[in-house]
């Protein structure tokens, strides 16, 4: 078995009475896009900062590339790239100079660095803004510059800490596509977010965090299998009678029925052809149906069932 790129064991971080990380453990393999999903304050950024030896912690071990991580472990640091949650660039330096500056903290060879900087600029699509100062860039472009500063030196492990906060949809898509491209080019990626759609879109494995604890870890499908729900069908229809509701509840694989906002909502745990069976029943009962929705469970459903709170509710 290969050495994990990141190995965190029993990490505990306290801020006085508050336990920010509570015996948190994690292993990330090479080539993964690993998502840390959780609401604000769940411990995602604290995990990253402890992992990078920026934050002291009370207990636990952190290994990166099989080596114990410490502030002086420059060999390990050389292969890490970090895209901070807050934009961290110098207002006094241009786009090109900012990328060159941060790349220069890793790469001393001037020619090699110039090539890497150009590649990073091309990667984030800032070719037309090389000589712009950060204050002249829009929020989305600024985020892209922030990313370029973190990845220009072509690290083996890249950490993205909520890189799409306050970013327009176009820039967000470009960022997500870029992360997938970096992964295809060989980088292992850690991606923290409270946007479950993003995590679901790009991450190969996900850890659900809540109150400093890891509640579940696995692929999207593995996580979805942890919960009872496999399908939720909603149909716009007049409110069924109590007897009809009982009959719907007795259909195969149904575990919950409700009538919410002029819609009949039926939740299933497994089974096939659930929609056809339900629509046949409603037709037989002479109900006029409007729009029909069939949804497979999302990470929000997973989060809801595991933590007892919807991810968005807890924001």
């Amino acid at each position: 078995m290969s050495t994990p790129v990141v190995k965190i064991e029993n990490l505990v971080k306290r801020y006085k009475e508050l336990i920010a990380l509570d015996h948190f453990s994690l292993e990330i393999e090479e080539g993964e896009i690993f998502g840390l999903l959780g609401p604000n304050g769940s411990g995602k950024t604290t995990t990253i900062n402890c992992m990078l030896s920026l934050l002291s912690y009370d207990k636990g071990e952190v290994e990166i590339f099989g080596k114990k991580m410490s502030p002086d472990n420059y060999e390990v640091k050389k292969d890490i790239g970090v895209v901070m949650q807050n934009v961290a660039v110098f207002d006094e330096l241009t786009v090109y100079e900012n990328i060159d500056y941060f790349c220069g903290l890793y790469i001393t060879d001037k020619e090699k660095r110039a090539k890497l900087v150009e590649e990073a600029i091309e990667f984030v699509g800032l070719e037309d803004f090389k000589k712009f100062y950060p204050k002249k860039l829009s929020g989305g472009l600024l985020r892209r510059l922030n990313i370029a500063c973190g990845i220009a030196h072509k690290p083996r492990l890249i950490i993205f800490d909520e890189p799409t906060v306050a970013v327009d949809p176009q820039s967000r898509n470009k960022i997500l596509e870029g992360i997938e491209r970096l992964n295809r080019e060989g980088a292992t990626v850690i991606y923290t977010s409270h946007y479950m759609e993003e995590v679901e879109q790009i991450c190969t494995r996900i850890a659900i965090m809540d109150k400093g604890k890891s509640r579940a870890i696995g692929t999207k499908d593995e996580l979805k299998k942890l919960i009872r729900n496999t399908e939720t069908i909603s149909i716009e229809v007049a409110k069924p009678s109590d007897d009809d509701m009982k009959e719907i509840s007795s259909l195969p694989h149904v575990y919950e029925t409700a009538y919410e906002n002029s819609k009949l909502v039926v939740r299933y745990s497994g089974g096939k052809h659930n929609l056809i069976r339900l629509m046949n029943l409603l037709s037989d009962k002479q109900y006029n149906m409007g729009r029909v929705y069939s949804e497979i469970p999302t990470l929000n459903d997973v989060f809801l069932e595991i933590t007892g709170t919807a991810l968005r509710d807890s924001e």
């Binding site: 920026l54 934050l55 002291s56 640091k77 961290a88 006094e92 220069g104 903290l105």
Partner: protein, 379 residues
Amino acid sequence: MFFHKYKYGLLQTIRNKELTFWALGFTIILGTLFYAAFGNVYENDDIFEAIPVAVVENVGDDGFMQLLTELSQGEDKMLVVNKTDREKAEELLGNGDVEAIITVDESIALSINSTSDSISVSIVGSIVNEYNTKSALFEEIAKTNPEKLPQAIEAMNVNIDNVIKEHKLTDAPMNPYTDYFYNLIAMGILFGSTFGMTIAINSQGNLSAIAARKCVSPAKKSMSAIADILAAVTIVFACSVITILYVKYVLGVELGDRLGMYILTALFGSIMSVSLGYAVGSVGSIGEKAKGAILLTVTLLGGFLSGLMSHGMRQIVESKVPFINRVNPAAILTDAFFSLTVYPHYDRYIRSIIGMAVITVICTVAGIIMTRRKKYASL
């Protein structure tokens, strides 16, 4: 990597328009306004006021008394002589009615107190020193080569004229308004402390996102800090040299003939200023705005106490709370410029340089101690 960081440190510092304005633009504008306000004074040669001195004659010395008489006569008189006894002389000095007591004894002695005006003391001191030196020489010649005595007397007369003309051993004029420009240059240099503060904030992972990004890189923190500090000192020093040259050559303020020493002083001042800012910026428990306010207070209040807004303030502070003048960076720096202009010797200048060195060492050590942490309890 060091030169990479130094190069970008220079770029960041020089492009920080706000800070550069305070370190250079503001100083030049204020200097120009000072010059406009004092312009007539500078063009007026007759700005010197005769210095009041008390003379206690314990032993008769006709030569010296004749010299005093000559110096206290006419429109261009240098001294206002008050011949009196010791007790009365001390009372006059204590009340500030005279700047010094000249005691005529076996040799001529000078007594001053801490409130005496430095320029006046320097002038009177030069006269006394010159007379003592020449009279000793005169006696020696009389003993060893009496035949050369007439020539010696003639030479002595010539040199007394020189004393009257030179006032002191440096060539600078005795314009009290020049003190404002020393203060101005000092203030400009001390505004550079903000650069040091920015460096400290951008090097601690718990204070800024940029610092956090730097901390997770393989670049050593100490090397980064040294490169940044060196870049800041370079810019502050360059600003101060431009200010000195502007004051001297554009405004025409006569700062004296020790330009090289002024520039050296500006270099020491720049190092002190950046290290002061670095130390304040390194304090983790207070916010950036509070740190900026502390530095502004040190600069402006320090400037006020060293005489930026009111000539003679430094002497008042010296008489009441001399300790403040020893620890106030603005006063130390101003005094260094002042003593270069006024005193022929370097005793007082060296005291100022030592003061700057002590502040620099304390601030640097404090800054290093506060920033040496590599992991933070919170971000």
